[in-house]
Subunit: 381 residues, 2 copies
């Protein structure tokens, strides 16, 4: 494969703790229902999975937000539930209801049937990655992604979204042995899946631990963090173009466990939601980096996040003010002593963008992040 | 009024940082649907509000869990939405749907209409408190409660439960001036309401900041914490019997803000959910107490929580093991230098008990907490 030269590598440099001229920004779920052009493509595709499994549609919607906004990265259009679907659990999306599985994994017999799926069933994902990378033609880097082993397990055991995670936590507390079996299969499946995305052209990969934050302290470390670490331990470090592929881990509601993540996760970037103070998080990363000085292992050096997506329902002046508050909370980039790694910042939402967002507000947000973060850097000289 | 002598003051002593022979336990929503006898009374009452507004029914269900379990406190059977209901917003509970308000507060006109409600409309609550206190006859202390100003505002603006808090956050970010007006009215209403419960016989009061954890860092301090502090600043310190009335504040999902709470809240107890490590939280309280040494103001000296209620779906051995883990995470009580306040622990769930819980598992939990916490104390001598 040959690849177009990357014209905007700001996001990739920030992932690796390298200085950038401004703070890069992309948005979780940036290709989505809040865009009229997305809704139009989805109507043609007929269904969500019709969209996700068709390489041309997936390519089209992935690029849509880049036409409107000066975003610094693209992210594969897909869903975290492709893996349990390929395991044969029967995924469907009913209108207004969210995802649902025909089969649930709640007992010994169901767990015994689980296995890492044949990656041929997920060929459509890898084909989409390759197609999107070609279509991007080097404009911005492409992020691949997967759900965390625990987050996939939540859906596999609950069979759908849940408010209380009763079934998956019942299995966890009543039969931790079975839960560990599920998570081990999931971790190996996620690792193979992400490696195939890397081979197909993904320039960074992200693990969405969307439901790690519902676990108790102790249970999080044992049932979520340990298996995300198992995924990371199996990932390829270099992409199809020979470049390093940064790894991002985002645990929604995981702000209390940043220290544990710094200890256990061989990743480059930690995503945080809006409950986290970015200045405090930056200090946690800096302290952990200093404590590990000399140890060569991979350790996060960047934070990603964390504006509340609901800010985008406010008028432009307030959107811009809240964007500045997030940038100010992180503080002026740089300033670490020579020879030590900087903690860097990638601007994002603290969760996926809402379908009710007005696209015009996103333009305001992206512009303010780029403009104000340049000002921060020049004012500090 | 004359009051029966309190036979079990373990909970009240733990609230005030005083040593106890064992760790007291009560459970959020301990009078509830998981109890067959509750379901029977509720069927007679016809509806949830029929139950809550009838003094005899409210008394009956408040005492039901005490008949089954060796709990160390009772809590008024009521709902946090009684205040917005008394404001005239029209509360109803539809089966399977949760609470709903006829009117929502989303614009200047609706905010202008808000006022602290006439407490006569809430007479049924104060009558219930007096009735329950009499019926308890000194067995255990009675906790009164209210929702936090922010949590009430969530329901008043959303009109119902919400997954994304879109409407209330839109108001917050677009019209912070209006949000502050709503919260000021709510805070004053909550303070008057809790004082009336104290006058009627409540021996401790708890503020449920159930939705504080959905706010962004910064927004939490400005829109939730500040108004809980405003409530606490207006509360009576002594009850109808002349005894100190401890104050408990529980912010679900607020584990990142314990430091801020220690700075700003004149309360005795901080509730924490299961994401919090109790040992780490204990150190935060101890450090804050040490830093404020000599300052006489009221500052939390006890933690309340924090087992995941889903643990109660596991078999007895696992329930007991998880209970011990929570007690071990807090550590052996006592040990602070002479003259300094101890940080104490009150065992609770990290959220209300699930309606699907088997009552027998609660018996296991309560017994393990009492037994093991006595062992912890004797082993340390």
């Amino acid at each position: 494969m040959t690849f177009a030269v990357l014209q905007n590598d700001t996001f990739l440099r920030a992932c690796m703790g390298q200085p950038t001229e401004y703070t890069p920004i992309w948005m979780m779920r940036q290709a989505g229902r809040y865009l009229p052009e997305y809704r139009e493509t989805r109507a043609r595709a007929g269904s969500f999975m019709g969209l996700a499994t068709n390489v041309d549609y997936a390519t089209e919607v992935t690029l849509q937000p880049l036409e409107r906004f000066a975003l610094d990265a693209a992210i594969l259009f897909s869903d975290i539930l492709t893996i349990p679907d390929a395991m044969g659990l029967g995924l469907s999306f009913r209108p207004g209801e969210g995802p649902r599985f025909e089969q649930v994994v709640r007992d010994e017999a169901a767990v015994a049937q689980l296995a890492v799926p044949d990656m041929d069933k997920l060929r459509y994902v890898f084909d989409a990655v390759a197609s999107i990378r070609r279509a991007l033609a080097g404009r911005v880097p492409l992020i691949g992604f997967a759900g965390s082993p625990w987050t996939l397990a939540c859906y596999m055991v609950e069979g759908a979204s849940s408010r209380d995670y009763r079934h998956v936590k019942t299995l966890l507390y009543a039969r931790p042995d079975l839960m560990h079996e599920v998570l081990a299969v999931n971790a190996d499946a996620v690792a193979i899946y992400l490696n195939a995305q890397i081979d197909a052209g993904a320039q960074a990969v992200m693990v969405f631990d969307s439901w790690g934050g519902v676990l108790a302290d102790g249970a999080f470390q044992e049932f979520s963090l340990a298996y995300t670490a198992r995924v990371l331990g199996q990932l390829k470090r270099h992409g199809a173009d020979g470049q390093i592929v940064p790894r991002i881990v985002f645990t929604k509601g995981g702000g209390l466990w940043l220290d544990a993540m710094m200890q256990d996760l061989a990743c480059d970037v930690l995503g945080v939601d809006w409950t986290v103070n970015l200045g405090a998080a930056r200090r946690i990363l800096q302290d952990a980096i200093a404590a590990a000085a000399g140890a060569p292992e991979l350790q996060a050096t960047a934070l990603q996040g964390n504006i509340d997506p609901n800010v985008l329902f406010a008028p432009p002046a307030q959107v811009r003010e809240q964007a500045r508050r997030v940038l100010d909370a992180f503080g002026v980039p740089g300033g670490a002593p020579a020879g030590t790694r900087q903690v860097t910042h990638i601007f994002n939402l603290g969760h996926g963008i809402s379908q009710f967002t007005t696209p015009e507000q996103v333009t305001e947000l992206v512009d303010e992040v780029h403009t104000y973060s340049r000002q921060q850097r020049s004012a500090s000289h």
